[in-house]
């Protein structure tokens, strides 16, 4: 190990310090879960590029700064309601739960009335109110073994969100969970945890929106676990617009039962260093998923999208499309692994990663992996990287369209294949406008 990491945060010491005051400290099962989390973390330590799964993403920034737990710093800068960004169309029935530096902020949240069978509450409150209802799920879908960052989240999670949608219930309006960061005047770390449970034949749309409000360095280590029961469907849209000096590591763990559907999309724009991990287990026959994303990076930003799709039952399907736009010296990583387990016959798994490099110094590493142990399987993957099509650019300019505008049109067209997968018109619009803002055409 380097000895120059004297600035590094000692997360184990933080755990020792905090364990007695963490939510649910009096619950044996939860304490055990946290204990197993910290043990896993201790075993592996912060991942380094020597670990295969972290080969292209170096967590060096985390070793340079000492991050205080978010509770230890003075009250976060008060954010006015008018400064709270949102992906939802403004209206009266906005359902939004805001976490400021990982903790529920009641002033900024508006949960409103919920349809029968639906509950939405902060995690810390759910642990107090109905711990029994969480016990069979928390840490079961997102199992921390071998995943040090998830393990750390499991040990240190203090707050987050629990969304439950009962059998047959339909939550047609999206629910937004807004993670606000960059509020303190020094570096903090937090570990928000989301638990999303959709019972049979229910439906919901969940938006996870990470926003940084300053250039202060901070560390958001988020985890989301999702169970979609038989015949239910969840649309999950994530937008990562963390502050420019932030480190954002997030993993989303999805369990799909028979005929369940998960439609996931992530747009990554922010953070100095980010990793968006999605693990889907297709546990029931006929379950299907989409795992799509786009990332737009510039300067020295680094963005890693890592997915693991496990087909465990017959006739399951998954399609993945990731599109990246990389400018300046930014770097993109796409690691996509598809595992078709024994007996998961007649499955369909398709994966595509495309990167558009706007500068000679931008870089993409793409690593697709297919592991197939079943029969009659249709699987494919493809990865491409290229520059702007000069011929198309000239054609547009020859029609009078200024060069910068022409470039933007081509970049937008490149991203559309991924963005068009967002089937909810209002959210599709919101994502397009984020992209336009990034391009400077908004």
């Amino acid at each position: 190990m380097l000895n120059g990491n004297s600035g590094a945060t000692d997360f184990e010491a933080v755990f020792t310090d905090r364990r007695a005051s963490l939510p649910g400290a009096d619950l044996a099962w939860l304490s055990e879960l946290r204990e197993s989390g910290i043990n896993q973390f201790r075993r592996h330590g912060l991942p380094t590029p020597r670990t295969e799964a972290w080969k292209y993403t170096n967590l060096r920034p985390l070793q340079k700064v000492a991050f205080a737990p978010s509770h230890e710093v003075s009250a976060p800068t008060v954010v006015g309601l008018d400064r709270v960004p949102s992906l939802l169309p403004s209206g009266e029935h906005v359902r939004r739960l805001v976490l400021t530096e990982g903790r529920f902020n009641p002033e900024l949240s508006s949960i409103g009335d919920l349809p029968p069978g639906v509950s939405l509450e902060p995690l810390a409150q759910a642990i107090r109110r109905d711990p029994g209802g969480l016990q069979s799920y928390l840490g079961r879908i997102a199992h921390p073994v071998g995943q040090p960052m998830l393990a750390l989240n499991t040990a240190l999670m203090e707050d987050g969100v629990v969304l439950r949608v009962g059998r047959g219930a339909v939550l047609s309006e999206p629910v937004e969970v807004l993670h606000l960061g960059g509020l303190s005047d020094h570096a903090v770390a937090y570990h928000p945890r989301l638990l999303v449970l959709l019972e049979a034949d229910s439906r919901a749309v969940l938006v996870e929106h990470f926003v940084g409000l300053s250039e202060q360095a901070y560390f958001a280590n988020a985890a989301t676990e999702i169970r979609v029961a038989e015949g239910a469907r969840l649309d999950h849209i994530k937008v990562q617009a963390e502050g420019t000096a932030a480190t954002h590591l997030a993993s989303c763990h999805v369990w799909l039962d028979r005929q369940a559907t998960f439609i996931g999309f992530s747009l990554s724009l922010g953070a100095q260093l980010s990793r968006n991990e999605v693990h889907v287990r297709l546990e029931g026959e006929g379950a299907r998923c989409r795992v799509n994303g786009a990332y737009l990076m510039r300067g020295k930003q680094h963005c890693d999208n890592t997915t693991l799709i496990e087909h465990l039952k017959p006739e399951t399907s998954c399609r993945e499309v990731f599109k990246g736009v990389l400018d300046d010296q930014s770097r993109g990583v796409f690691q996509g692994r598809i595992m078709v387990h024994r007996g998961a016959d007649k499955t369909d798994g398709h994966q595509l990663s495309k990167a558009l490099l706007l500068s000679d110094r931008a870089e993409i590493d793409a690593k697709p992996e297919l592991e197939i142990y079943a029969d009659d399987v249709k699987c494919s993957h493809g990865a491409t990287a290229g520059d702007i099509d000069e011929q198309a650019l000239f054609y547009l300019r020859a029609r009078g369209i200024p060069e910068a505008r022409a470039r933007s049109l081509l970049i937008q067209a490149f991203l559309d294949e991924a963005l068009d997968e967002v089937g909810i018109p209002a959210l599709h619009e919101a994502l397009l406008s984020r992209v336009a803002a990034w391009l400077g055409t908004g």
């Binding site: 099509d389 000069e390 011929q391 198309a392 000239f394 054609y395 547009l396 300019r397 020859a398 029609r399 009078g400 369209i401 200024p402 060069e403 505008r405 022409a406 049109l409 081509l410 937008q412 067209a413 490149f414 559309d416 294949e417």
Partner: protein, 249 residues
């Protein structure tokens, strides 16, 4: 309108244009014919500002200004239009978006406000109908999946919408069936006027039956080898280019 003087150009160090002189007055229609590889498209691309060509000698003036220092988009906004010999496919950009961007870019350059959605729609509806194109072709991505002839019509649609002052048509007639040729010719003729000029590159005298040129030039081996009236096209059709290719060799 356009004054080309002693234009020399190279591609990858290879001399392609070797001293072109050509003047087009407002309202005139000129045709350029010539063997494959003689430099016709090269000339068209240099006029429109494409990268990759080095002008080693001579100059080009457009409405009295030095054309060669202008960016491609500026040339277009100033009324220069090139119908490409090989129109480019642009996946993901709908034809309507493209037309609207192009039209409004030109309007902005001239200090005019953009057309709103209704005005624009009305305009392109009318133009597409005149050119026998379908609405469906407007919704599709630019030239993607278009047949050869459809691509050529799409070039003419762009020209009709942008109403250029100087249009350079590079083999717009190639690959068109008889009816399409007639439609394209009508589109070109509709645009003719005392202030507009055209430079039509073609291999076939057939087109020139519909759009009668004021002058016909033969471009061979990088030079204008001969200039005449419409009758020159008929002569070339009968005799070919042997005279020009051997004489200059």
């Amino acid at each position: 309108m356009l004054e080309i003087t002693n234009l020399h150009a190279t591609v990858d160090g290879k001399a392609i244009l070797k001293g072109i002189d050509l003047t087009i007055q407002p309202g005139e229609m000129h045709a350029i014919m010539g063997p494959n590889g003689s430099g016709k498209s090269t000339l068209a691309y240099i006029l429109s500002g494409r990268d990759g060509y080095e002008v080693t000698e001579g100059e080009v003036r457009y409405e009295g200004r030095d054309l060669l220092v202008m960016a491609p988009e500026e040339r277009a906004a100033e009324g220069l239009f090139l119908a490409f010999q090989y129109p480019v496919e642009i996946p993901g950009v709908p034809n309507t978006t493209f037309l609207k961007e192009a039209l409004n870019a030109g309007r902005k350059h001239r200090g005019e406000g953009p057309l709103d959605a209704m005005q624009f729609l009305k305009l392109i509806r009318q133009k597409t109908q005149e050119l026998g194109m379908t609405d469906e072709m407007l919704k599709r991505a630019v030239n993607v999946g278009f047949s050869g002839g459809e691509k050529k019509r799409n070039e003419i649609l762009q020209m009709a919408v942008l109403e250029p002052k100087l249009a350079v048509l590079d083999e717009t007639d190639s690959g068109l069936d008889i009816d399409a040729l007639k439609t394209v010719a009508d589109g070109v003729n509709a645009l003719r006027g005392p202030d507009r000029s055209m430079l039509v590159i073609t291999h076939y005298q057939r087109l020139l039956n519909y759009i009668v040129p004021d002058k016909v030039h033969v471009l061979a081996q990088g030079r204008i080898a001969r200039t005449g009236g419409p009758e020159l096209a008929e002569e070339l059709e009968a005799k070919g280019y042997a005279e020009f290719t051997t004489a200059a060799a």
